[in-house]
Amino acid sequence: MAAYIFKRALIAVLTLLLIVLILFVLMAFLPGSPFNDERLTVEQIATLRAKYGLDQPLLAQFWSFVKNTFSGDFGVSYAIQKNVPISSLLSGRLPVSMRIGGQAILLGSLLGLVLGVIAALKHNTVWDTFCTVLSVVGVSIPSYVFALGLSYLFGFKLKWFPILYQSALPFHSSVLATVALSLFTMASIARFTRTELLEVLSSDYILFAQSRGIDGFRLIARHALRNALIPVITVLAPLVVGLMTGSLVVERIFSVPGVGQLLVEGIQANDYSVVTALSFVYSLIYIAIMLGVDILYGVIDPRIRLAKGEVQP
């Protein structure tokens, strides 16, 4: 188990380092960066380079870049809010994005699990069809189309919820954004849960349990759900990516002052340092969650936890 965790952690660190290297190369060399702006004079560029330590040897630059990045110092914004440290831009926005993302994943997973379990238990009934159709539609409809629909219907036409996010009403005004974001999570989890549970329900050990007179709630709770839900954990990581991508769009539509919106602004304004910083933050979150999922999976599944030559003849 320790070896397993070590291997996973090593890959995670390697990945993160690779990302930092890519970001560094982009920052230092590519044209179109703030330092290569044609309107700047040679002197101005030199001053800027000195200010950001770009006149140092490459290795020293990289080292300080790594050090700064990992200590949360991402430099300042060049375009969006000139000379404001990115870390302070982030500190206001990250909690909002995290909260809405958290709400979405909670809502999506819960609904998805319920739908998936119902679909599998009521296999080949109207319930199953309903849940399946819902989940296919859920993965097929881009979250922003859904977000726009929600915003138009419940925000504009019915006026149940505010169209735009308001900091004064942090929950009420984030409902539509949360629902829009959670659709993909819900659909994926529902689909996956259904598949897994059906697989488990048709397995030999369920049949064997039934042949020993275990039925109904006991069977589902003790044997079926446990085994079906372990693999469901693995879809969490891809779902987080889905949430990140979704948040870019959803935050724009509901004008949520979050990280996603900041990234979009950064991309549109060509603010390299913001994009780099956010790329690092997103990657860090993603890699941390992947690692967490891997470890969790190992802890829950005894086949991985105890996978070390313990087979007895």
Partner: protein, 363 residues
């Protein structure tokens, strides 16, 4: 089964053969599949006597597994028991038709407590995420309502009964930590945990190493003697049958084509399919170097079939085989076979010479 049918079968007197623990009569099971309705089991009759071993033999798809799954109430949603009865004798002589029980009653009263099953693949029969001790104690606690300590004690006793070394420490093992043979022992212990009277073994050794197969068979036989179990074996392996069976039923295409005492089947087989099966069995005394195979493949039982399903593969097929299925001809109180060759007008057939007695025809 619909309520109407249930009421009907209650009105008819429940058929239970004398000195039988379980009598199955006219069992018919159909499957609804994407390709049409499949007659998986078509009018199967057999009796199981107390303490005896019945082997149901046939190729895959012959309906042998469906037959026993029907008895254990384990048929899938797309299967329906069209007709038939399976009457089980209670301790005080009362009769219960298994097919008249609701699913819930089946699980509560029958499964595990009176009829238990052992499946083919011990690798997949156990829940991979639960220690075997906990799985073993499930039945003890749910059915026999033992307390935790009592159940643990009993579970250890059962593990010892199936000859698992260091039973106490094995309780905490997960299935993947045990070898195939060990797992099958655990499966047997679990099946026996609530003292069933009938043990159904569905190809119990097929998935195991050859070296372990006979040890598992001996264990089952040993337990059978100790506990007075009646055992039904489902197998395609006549080698297994020869070792364990008191009575044999040969199934083909959802029907029993021949049944009788083990000696009758091995030394005086009457059905060409049984001949084929026996010839296909490797034998140390075999003189010819080549092993016989029954030509062709088992039929597809979708929709209505005309004539004997075996006829196209049968070297001894008569014209009538293509028109009509043969009725069951009674050869002795215990021996029955369904082949037109036993009809009085049928031509003389030289049976393959390998079986004990020369071929003999009814007249």
């Amino acid at each position: 089964m619909s309520d109407q049918k249930r009421a009907d079968s209650a009105q008819n007197e429940l058929f239970l053969a004398e000195n039988a623990l379980l009598s199955v009569r006219n069992l018919t099971v159909r499957f609804k599949t994407g390709y049409g309705v499949v007659g998986a089991v078509r009018g199967v009759d057999f009796d199981l006597k107390k303490g005896k071993t019945l082997a149901i033999v046939g190729e895959s798809g012959s309906g042998k597994s469906v037959t026993v799954k029907a008895l254990a109430g384990l048929l899938g949603e797309n299967a329906a028991i069209e007709s038939g009865s399976a009457v089980l004798r209670g301790p005080n002589g009362e009769k219960t038709d298994l097919f008249s029980l609701k699913r819930r009653e089946m699980r509560r009263q029958i499964n595990g407590r009176r009829i238990a099953m052992v499946f083919q693949d011990p690798m997949t029969s156990l829940d991979p995420t639960m220690p075997i001790g906990k799985q073993l104690m499930e039945g003890l606690r749910d059915h026999l309502h033992l307390g935790r300590e009592k159940a643990t004690e009993e579970a250890v006793r059962l593990l010892k009964l199936v000859e698992i070394p260091e039973a106490e420490s094995r309780m905490r093992s997960y299935p993947h930590q045990l070898s195939g043979g060990m797992r099958q022992r655990v499966v047997i212990a679990m099946a026996l945990s609530c003292n069933p009277e009938i043990l159904i073994c569905d190809e119990p050794t097929t998935a195991l190493d050859v070296t372990i197969q006979s040890r598992i068979l001996e264990l089952i036989q040993d337990l059978q003697r100790k506990l007075g179990l009646s055992v039904i074996y489902i197998t395609h392996d006549l080698g297994v049958v020869a070792k364990v069976a008191d009575e044999i039923a040969v199934m083909y295409a959802g029907r029993i084509v021949e049944r009788g005492l083990a000696d009758e089947i091995f030394y005086d087989p009457r059905h060409p399919y049984t001949w084929g099966l026996l010839l296909a069995m490797p034998d140390v005394e075999m003189d010819s170097g080549e092993l016989y195979t029954i030509p062709g493949n088992p039929p597809n039982m979708v929709g209505q079939t005309v004539g004997e399903p075996f006829a196209p593969r049968n070297e001894y097929a008569l014209n009538i085989d293509f028109r009509r299925e043969a009725p069951m001809f009674k050869l002795s109180e215990t021996h029955y076979a369904a082949t037109w060759l036993l009809h009085e007008k049928a031509p003389e057939v030289a049976r393959p010479a390998r079986f004990g007695r020369p071929p003999k025809r009814l007249n």
